[in-house]
Symmetry: C2
Subunit: 235 residues, 2 copies
DNA sequence: TAGATTGTTAATCGATTAACAATC
DNA sequence: TAGATTGTTAATCGATTAACAATC
């Protein structure tokens, strides 16, 4: 059951590598469109914003797709990475929560071009059910299960307000979805076997703020109040 | 200049910890709003979706803000984390690129409530300069430098199409911005000392697709073509 | 053959986790 | 005092980087 052909050496790719493969894929697509036939690890690494040792290490998890002394065939490597990620196939996606962000996501061209097809837009608010966004009409949230089964949806996107997100996730899981991209600023609880990735705008800004604050401190090391001077411990 | 008071033990917090502090902050805010005065590391960790050992380790980098045998004072810990991140102060932010995503960002309430204030919306397209979005009017991109200086903007958000992003980043850096949140699907080159965080929707979906594909393989291990059977190496 | 560049090894670094002594 | 829970230590795990032998 879990046995594996030894020839298929490429299983169990580290998570950090998986997260970079789409970046390499994009860089290779750009090189391909620019008419470049071959590239070195150095060249590709620069385009992807990583160092070449890391790139080669990452690619070594997939297999041996380069040629020593020469480099990588752009088209060939691009296909191999696309296949490894799974974007050579079509992925039906459903988006739940068609507010400002949901509109932006539905209209985002980068999905379609990478094998993701938005098959349905759902919203709990009946006033939105008149709307057509990006050529797809907005349907009631209660249609979720039917749509998931009809289109074989494996990936769900949540762009509702935070209070609704857990309920949406529960229904997605119940309908058979096992991969969720969550834009709502809340921690989702899901059963084992379900993957959740979160995109959290205000967390990203807070991380930047932390570093920005430290930069400012370096510049004027005085302004910060001395440890504990302002706020006492509670009793 | 770089000397440091030994009492301020909390410098040099690991990057992984910094990325989780905003999650703890959000959980503490929820606890606070629910009227909870005290919580254990176990309780807070569950709310934040991490394990309690990691939470305590993370908090230990900030200082010793708990009470053995008792737990943490919710309000006190919340303030300490907020101060550490820097969200007790106000951060003026500028957003460049007011398409669908820019609209969604400008309207996002989570910014304002966490100390981020959108002081300007900029777009290169003159047709957008009539618009008022979320109470702020859209101004020409060429106003960037003046606005940055006027408001002391330290954080810039890029929500333009990919081809425009590098040029926007260059202008931001030239204007003095040293923290950038990039939503454009492209790798930005910036000088040392400038922080860039990227949010890339299609990369997130591709990471989910990779894992989804592997789940499907586990279920039906046969369907995948045998290694190299379909595609030959290029000459 | 000589030069170039991959794929891999080994060293280093950082992050996570479990366990427990300190202490409220 | 006894029970609870923190803060820290040490072990483990995973990711990054440099260096170089393999080889085109």
């Amino acid at each position: 059951m879990t046995e594996r052909t030894p020839s298929e050496a490429s299983r169990d790719i580290p998570e950090a590598t998986v997260a970079r493969l789409p970046v390499y894929l994009r860089a290779l697509t750009a090189l391909s469109e620019a008419g470049t036939a071959t590239c070195s690890s150095e060249h590709l690494a620069t385009a992807a914003g990583v160092n070449s040792a890391m790139l080669r290490k990452d690619l070594s998890h997939l297999g041996s797709y380069g040629t020593r002394g020469v480099g990588y065939d752009v088209e060939y490597l691009r296909y191999q990475i696309a296949r490894e990620i799974g974007v050579t196939q079509d992925w039906p996606v459903v988006i739940v929560g068609i507010g400002n962000l949901g509109h932006a996501l539905a209209n985002f061209s980068g999905f379609r071009s990478r094998g993701f097809r938005v098959v349905a837009l759902l919203d709990a608010d009946p006033r939105r059910h008149q709307e057509v966004v990006a050529g797809v009409d907005v349907r009631p949230f209660s249609d979720l299960e039917a749509i998931v089964h009809e289109h074989g949806v494996a990936i769900g996107v949540i762009s509702t307000p935070a209070p609704a997100a857990q309920d949406v996730a529960d229904h997605m899981v119940a309908a058979g979805i096992r991969s969720i991209l969550n834009f709502a600023p809340t921690v989702l609880a899901v059963p084992p076997g379900v993957d959740v990735r979160k995109v959290d705008l205000s967390i990203e800004l807070q991380i930047l703020a932390y570093h920005e604050q430290r930069k400012a401190l370096g510049a004027a090391a005085v302004e910060r109040p001395v440890d504990g001077a302002l706020e006492g411990r509670p009793a």
